[in-house]
Amino acid sequence: MTATAEREAAAAPLPRPAWGRHLVAVAVLAVVLVPLPLVLPAAQQSVAVRVLVFAILAIGWNVMSGFGGMFSFGHAAYFGLGAYVSVWLLVERGISPWIGMLVGMVVAGAFAALIGFLALRYRLKGAYFALATFAFAEMLRLIAINSDLVNRAVGYNVPLRSEPSWAYMQFEPGSANYFWIALALTVVALVVTILFLRSRQGRFTVAVRDDEDAAAALGIPVMRTKLITIALSGAITSVAGTFYVQYYFFVDPDVAFGNSVSIQAILPAVIGGVATIWGPVIGAAVLGPLNDVTATVLRNPPPALDFLQGRAGLDVVLYALLLILIVLLLPQGVYGAIRDRVQRRRAGRRPA
């Protein structure tokens, strides 16, 4: 049997967690990206902002489902709450979206904890847990559609202001401020994630994910740890929702709570690497433009493929194929694969 050999190999030293290095990397990333909007044309800039929104969404998902090991298929609920709470406060009460963002985080975090409590209380796991989270997100969507309180299916438009305003997070179209705000929010989300993972609470989260019984036996309150993780995850994701509305100026129940949002929370993390700090960011950077790339390639195909031009649906076919391939070939995600590779190198072993 090779099992022993594999074990020996796997027991190769793990690098000590390098929180400091991660934080430095975040800082470097921020500094490198700050001038980006000055060189990017407007359309690409809006793709860049979209990438950052996806990244925040996925960073949030990753906290709960990656590091916490509780697979959520309903992050649309928290995204949507972040969007709706802030836009409701803005439109109905004239309250700044910055405050709305904070309120949205609290509401989404609390709702996430409530769902988590129910699902965990009834010991749901794996696919069942995922389907329960999905059901709650759908219920929010259906309730919003038929609720006068939030304008039913019509949703909300963000009122245009005559003057750009930091207080109301509204600037001229194509303003670099949007990118910078999104970047800042992403950086904060990353830093919060890193600090959380480094903290006692974060260590507990990972321990509980790896083995609940052992964690409990060592004195870690399992339920509380999970709920804190879930609430943090919901709060981070809600920020993406708040920013989304301020950037796209419009939200309705499908945009906010539709299951495509839940999928968009999972996609970047899986593509980039689940349960890694950088996975969601890398995944978002790959996926965000992928749609546009496939569309562009097919809009102006190389001469040999000219016959494909204008075939509706083809861009999505290509996108779907790439998606399947990436997930199949890089099950650990882009970052996960690179990390494993580096670690193996470091261990002085070449892959078999």
């Binding site: 074990r7 321990a207 964690a215 409990a216 036996a217 060592l218 004195g219």
Partner: protein, 244 residues
Amino acid sequence: MTLLEVESVSKSFRGLRAVDDVSFTVEEGSILGIIGPNGAGKTTLFNLVAGALPPDTGSVRLAGTDVTGAKPHRISHAGMARTFQLMKPFGSLSVLENVAVARMAAGASRRRAPAEAADVVDRVGLTRWRDARSEGLPTAGLKRLELARALASRPRVLLLDEVLAGLVPAERTPVMELLETLRRDDGITLVFVEHIMAAVMRLSDSVLVLDQGRVLTSGEPHQVTQDPRVIEAYLGEEPTVAGP
């Protein structure tokens, strides 16, 4: 002083009485060995005592406080630690981190935990594996890791579920010596389930024999092994002296 008092606890699974009216007490600083054939209910008994399962009836008192049916983490905070027969490492973490988490769970700060954990790692003889990913450890390493994590929570009572099983004889001696120092130098009270009779004979102050969920007998190690009922219960099970 009586540290741990278990009073007529019972537990059934779908009509099957896994643990049936079991009582015993453990004095502070003593070592209790629990033996019994496969399926005797030893692990279930541990789960009942450590809070992993609530007992159907009966009570568990730790240092005079009733902890019956309390959540495992509360019992841990009250001073009882346990290891698992099927090792349960935090697989994605290194050995040191595993132990550091246990230190933190017992209240150590994030800064101090690693240094304190390193001491425990050294003490159980895992220094060589300190930075290894725990899920890749060989069995002997995992057994020691279980022990290290339990120790890291600085318990008054330590429940050990077959810490010697799966070790070759040469590996057993240092672990047994370690257990002896734990009692002698740290004053930790030990309750352990073990199949390896040599270890039971060497370590225990007293022995509890379980069979089919009930207490068959208890007493000094030498008395117990002479008991014909014990011999009968073990008949055809496995040799009374050597381990598997």
